[in-house]
Amino acid sequence: MHIPDGFVSVPVAAATSVVSVAALGVALGRSKDAFGVRRAPILGLTTAFIFAAQMINFPVAGGTSGHLLGGALAAIVLGSPWAGALCIATVLIIQAVLFADGGITALGANIFNLAFIGVWVGWSLTQTLHRLMGGSKSRLPLASGIAAAISVVVAAICAALQLAISGTANLGVILPAMAGVHILIGVGEGLITGGVLAYLVKARPDLLPGNDEEQIRSWVVPVVSILLIAGLLSLFASAWPDGLEKVAEDTGFIDLAEQIRISIPTPFADYTFNENEGIGTSMAGILGSIVCFGVAWGIAQVVKPKNA
């Protein structure tokens, strides 16, 4: 998923570079704990390990191959998404500068997609799923495997959006294509991440973050759960009409609703975006959740007592 030179436009490259440099600065500050006698070898070795693992492509369907991205794995082994992001960003810098794997002009976009989106989605989902599964270490491989698979798909969707904004490809074409291929690659990512962690849980459980170490803040679990429901489970929603619509169809007044829709267009009609079913439904669900949260938060700010 490394975007090469020439795929992203100058504004997209510049914007993603600015965001990535800022985030990298924060990551360097937040992962100071990773640079000590105890943790520095783990950070260095994990970086080297993921670099080596990314060189090994495994075949997926349709004559395509994929490789481990390792964002979720790095974050879990290092016990911090900031250190994980730093690890993946270092791998991407080495690959772009020394091996021309991923463009130098697209380095910002690649770091944004893989080192920040990939790592943070993988880490947040792992924490959420792990907690929902009971929180024991034996469940960590399963939670991280699922999270790693989803993180690959989310990173691919980000890359597709950047390519569409750059004018390289049409959104309607690139989005389903990228998501489709990366679902298969995500399965491989999930299996490898889960398998490696299953081994580490058995052989060196002290390496993995324990119950007393960095815990995810209380707000992350509900937020990620909402995004999971709105973004992922919404894809499996039934396309059949609801009770009222069914009655309206049967009794012949459904056309009235259609006439109103034509005269008052809405941006996410029928929970789709840009006439894109599937991914469009997810995007509409996530945007809707964010808007609902924003409105509710705004109301709460207005009505709460001044001294609260």
Binding site: G6, F35, P41, A52, V97, L191
Partner: protein, 220 residues
């Protein structure tokens, strides 16, 4: 080859690569300029030709899979530009004395923590490859001969075992580095001399001129 310090070599290589990467698409004349600079760089470093061509061929085959679907015109420019970048960086890497990447890295204007991660990743890659070789040998001794046998043997647990074995060695190496005076950076002086600084500035100006000129030509 001796006349260039490691820090200077890395900085000049990076200037050429970054300058070429930012060239305007289809600015062939300016790319030729970078190509000549890269060739001169490879000759002056006396890079082993056979190793270099083998490495370039392998990397270009991989890159062509990515670039060719974009159409011949665009792909050919991207591939030639990648060839220039790879020629420059491979010339640097292939003439680098063993375990000296950290010395070259020290002179780069990057955050210390990032340089430490890059340095350790480079050091530990050798450890990782060493462990892979040992595990391959062990697999062969157990009767898993050939690539097919090795692939059958490789699974997620195996990758986990590789990680742990490498980590044990990496921790020992790190403890030894600390004992020898390592404190996040190698204890060597990697500041550029005045002549070297002049060379870096001159190359920087040349690279900026070539890259900016490629855009001005496109505008006019």
């Amino acid at each position: 080859m001796r006349k260039f310090s490691l820090t200077l070599r890395l900085q000049l290589s990076l200037i050429i690569v970054i300058g070429a990467a930012f060239l305007k698409l289809n600015a062939w004349y300016w790319l030729c300029g970078y190509g000549i600079i890269a060739l001169c760089w490879a000759v002056s470093l006396r890079v082993p030709i056979r190793k270099l061509t083998g490495l370039l061929g392998l990397e270009l085959i991989f890159l062509s899979f990515l670039a060719l679907p974009l159409g011949w015109e665009r792909a050919s420019f991207l591939l030639v530009r990648s060839l220039v970048c790879l020629l420059t960086m491979n010339s640097f890497l292939l003439t680098l004395p063993p375990h000296s990447f950290g010395i070259a890295l020290k002179g780069l204007p990057l955050p210390r923590a990032l340089k430490e991660t890059l340095l350790l990743a480079g050091q530990y890659l050798e450890i990782l490859l060493g462990e892979v070789t040992q595990m391959q040998r062990s697999a062969k001794l157990r009767g898993l001969n050939g690539v097919a046998g090795w692939v059958r043997y490789a699974n997620a647990s195996m990758i986990g075992a590789l990680y742990l074995r490498s980590l044990d060695r990496a921790e020992r190496v790190y403890a030894a580095m600390i004992a020898r005076g390592y404190n996040g950076m190698l204890p060597v002086d990697s500041t550029l001399r005045i002549k070297e600084r002049f060379a870096v500035v001159a190359m920087g100006i040349l690279a900026i001129s070539l890259t900016v000129a490629s855009y001005q030509l496109a505008l006019s």
